[in-house]
């Protein structure tokens, strides 16, 4: 199935998750024309160099590297554990927190700087009105 089909009829879990005209999901970002810093989400002022109104609104990359992680064993009631929370530096800029899938929740199995890719899937959670949502996740990228 295509990524567009995976998320058809679902709402994005966060505001920086968007869908293109063909229905394909992507991570929305902003890049400062002046200093080049890349941000997750759409914004008009640069937090780094303070320039106003000089942001290019861009699609962030669907690949990156694992900067940091933790394995979460205790969480709020109803949240399935264990899971791996990671910080990923996307190729071309932007840094993002998310869940790492398809890796054993064992610190020894998780490598700093391992290449990952972004996948878009059903979040498996519904809001009070019964609407379904899609979210982004990370999986190991099998780069050789």
């Amino acid at each position: 199935m295509s990524a567009a089909a995976d998320v058809a009829g679902l709402k994005p879990a966060v505001s920086f998750l968007k869908t293109a005209e063909n229905g394909a999901p992507y991570l929305a970002g902003s890049k400062c024309k002046k200093c080049g810093e890349v941000f997750v989400g759409t914004r008009d002022t640069c937090a780094k160099c303070f320039t106003r109104g000089q942001m290019d609104h861009i699609h962030l990359a669907d690949t990156g590297r694992l900067y940091n992680f933790t394995v979460v064993h205790r969480n709020f009631p109803g949240v399935p554990v264990p899971f791996i929370s990671v910080i990923v530096d996307l190729d071309g800029g932007g840094t993002l927190k998310g869940n790492l899938l398809d890796v054993e929740p064992d610190p020894a199995k998780i490598k700093f700087d391992m290449p990952v890719k972004v996948v878009y899937r059903n979040a498996g959670r519904k809001d009070k009105e019964g609407n379904g949502y899609f979210a982004y996740f990370f999986t190991p990228a099998n780069k050789n």
Binding site: K11, A13, V14, E37, F39, V40, A47, K48, Y67, N68, F69, T70, V71, V72, H73, R74, N75, F76, V79, P80, V81, F83, S85, V86, I87, V88, T95, L96, K97, G98, N99, P107, F112, A123, R125, K126, D127, Y133, A135, Y136
Partner: protein
């Protein structure tokens, strides 16, 4: 501008007091601090009150209803885990500015128990556990593992912080716990967010602490210089921009900024400091703050905990009160409890946990958001 002194300070024993009101707890600490310097609420010219969870509820005014409604100005302060320290700084600034000569600062919090933090918005669906974890144990696990990534710091080294601070708290009757926790027990405790086990997470407790601040002229006039402790520096910072801060709260840059400001204001450096109360909300945090506060070079914090330099009797004892890990962490009270601890050592009144010959001490708190406060105190 006048120098500013801590002339009276105290804290209640931290614990779980579900049946007490925050006004009552805040009032008790306030009266204890007033008694410590022999002054009355009628002598206070303003109240700076730190509280986070009921920040919109006029907590300072409610404290005054408990201990005396003198009509003085009240400023209620909420600034994450730097709330209490920010209340102290507000009082310090007012005296520096010459507006008042003597003010009361109170910090109080009722915490309940359980996890703090977590990601999720008001609309849509909760994102905790879906888009990573925003619980405080996870946020500070990321802080620790970033240090591991850079310098190879181990789970065992992080755990040693907890062993040390729990040991220190056996000497502090005002700490929540007085219990040794050997390394195997800390490492074998329930894993919350790797590498933070349950015993490497600060204790959610209820508590209050207070301090009376005074100008030099007034302290002399009142005959309070004997036990007075000078505030050599008061620094507050918000998080400067760093790339990872957008996904992972950066407690390092903000601490370094506040520490640099405080050292410059005091005209002192890390080597001049005899004891430190720093923000060990999680064991991982204490390790990174050794470097952030300049106690060692970058990359040496693991070695520093291994060598025992930061335990009582070591080169620069850290968190001899037991720290947030074992004394407890009532958010709004924590920053003032740190002032109490360091002041008590500088006065030579810390009993069995006294840091011998302590002349200069530093307090540090840093809260999510981010807010960092550093104070440097010196025996007058």
């Amino acid at each position: 501008m006048s120098d500013v002194y801590v002339v009276g300070t105290d804290m209640i024993k931290f614990g779980r007091f579900p049946n007490r009101s925050i006004a009552e707890m805040g009032g008790e600490a306030a009266q204890m601090a007033l008694d410590d310097c022999g002054l009355s609420i009628a002598d206070m010219q303003a109240l700076y009150c730190g509280n986070l969870f009921e920040a919109s509820g006029g907590v300072g005014q409610r404290v005054l209803r408990e201990i005396g409604q003198t009509g003085i100005p009240v400023v209620n302060v909420a600034n994450a885990c730097a709330t209490g320290a920010t209340a102290i700084r507000e009082g310090w600034m007012a005296i520096k500015a010459g507006v008042y000569d003597v003010v009361l600062c109170v910090g109080v919090e009722q915490m309940g128990s359980g996890l703090l933090g977590g990601a999720g918005g008001r609309d849509g669906i909760p994102t905790e556990g879906l888009l990573g974890s925003g619980t405080m144990p996870s946020v500070f696990a990321h802080v620790g593992l970033e240090h591991t990534r850079k310098y190879g710091t181990t789970f065992e080294q992080f755990a040693k912080v907890s062993v040390k601070n729990h040991h220190h708290s056996t000497l502090n009757a005002k700490a929540m716990y007085q219990k040794e926790t050997p390394l195997e027990e800390v490492m074998g405790a329930e894993m919350i967010s790797y590498p933070n086990t349950k015993l490497m997470c600060s204790v959610n407790v209820d508590g209050s602490a207070a301090a009376v601040l005074c100008s030099e002229k007034k302290a002399k006039e009142l005959g309070l210089m004997g036990r007075a402790v000078k505030i050599r520096a008061s620094a507050l910072a918000s998080d400067p921009y760093t790339t990872h801060n957008m996904a992972m709260m950066d407690f390092n840059a903000v601490t370094r900024l506040a520490a640099k400001t405080a050292y410059e204001m005091a005209g002192l450096g890390p080597d001049d400091i005899d004891l430190i109360e720093l923000h060990d909300c999680f064991a991982t945090a204490e390790i990174v703050h050794y470097e952030n506060l300049g106690l060692c070079k970058d990359g040496e914090a693991g070695r520093m905990i291994d060598s025992g330099e930061t335990q009582l009797g070591g080169r620069v004892p850290v968190n001899v009160s037991g720290g947030l890990l074992s004394k407890g962490h009532p958010l709004g009270a924590t920053g003032i409890a740190n002032i109490y601890e360091v002041t008590t050592h500088l006065r030579g009144e810390a009993g069995s946990r006294q840091v011998a010959g302590a002349k200069i001490g530093l307090t540090h708190v840093v809260g999510a958001g981010s807010a960092c406060a550093v104070h440097i105190l010196e025996k007058a």
